[in-house]
Point group: C2
Chain length 136, copies 2
């Protein structure tokens, strides 16, 4: 299941991307519009800022705004930042590879074989979808 963190993060990004201009939008406004706990959203936006998707401004008239063009934000990177590895087992992960400690032979492993296909199909979707595609 998708974590709420990812869900909320995607909604916030889409909301910011759908704005007419790139003026700062307050956390409170995003939270209210998307029905998200403000404090929780706060931490999510912070990680999105640290990763370079969002800019922020403090004080009156402050808030968050999108730095990049939505067409330049592929879902591969967004999902990795918010949700973590795209692969369902680390032994088939491109960016977070780890050997399974219980599995002697990766090539003979049925889980490996299946999850490799699942990862590829998911990657195909994420690589071909940008934030711009999600704007209603």
């Amino acid at each position: 299941m998708l974590s709420k963190k990812t869900k909320y993060g995607l909604k916030a990004l889409t909301f910011l991307a759908s704005q007419k201009n790139r003026d700062p939008i307050q956390i409170a406004e995003i939270a209210k519009h998307e029905n998200i706990s403000q404090k929780f959203l706060e931490s999510i936006l912070l990680t999105l800022r640290r990763t370079g998707y969002l800019g922020s401004k403090k004080g009156k008239g402050g808030g968050y705004y999108l730095i990049k063009d939505p067409t330049e934000i592929p879902m591969t990177t967004v999902m990795r930042v918010l949700e973590g590895p795209i692969a369902m087992v680390s032994c088939v992960s491109l960016n977070f590879y780890e050997k399974c400690d219980d599995c002697p032979d990766e090539q003979a492993c049925s889980v490996h074989k299946l999850m490799l296909k699942v990862r590829d199909s998911a990657l195909d979707v994420y690589r071909n979808t940008t934030l711009a595609d999600l704007i209603p």
Copy 2:
């Protein structure tokens, strides 16, 4: 991430499917061969039996054996039994649909739009993969 339950379940199914005949195999043997905690595997095999994939026999010479032909066991049903919904959000689930309580308009939701594509791509893999395809 894939749960250990699913991982172990898949390994056990593959192990049973790769046997020459359909004689009962003891839990202990499967657990040892696949490096799985025996007690944990016990409960997994139990659910697989209740779902109709496995048969069992008690007492001496007992154990678990595959009931169906591996080519007749698609990953869609196995994954749903072991892991749960294939969709990452319930609002795009075919078998476990639930409306999101925070989302006023499903059609306008960016998460819905993205996860629909991911679900379809995963379904495509699971529908076209049977247990027979996982045997090394």
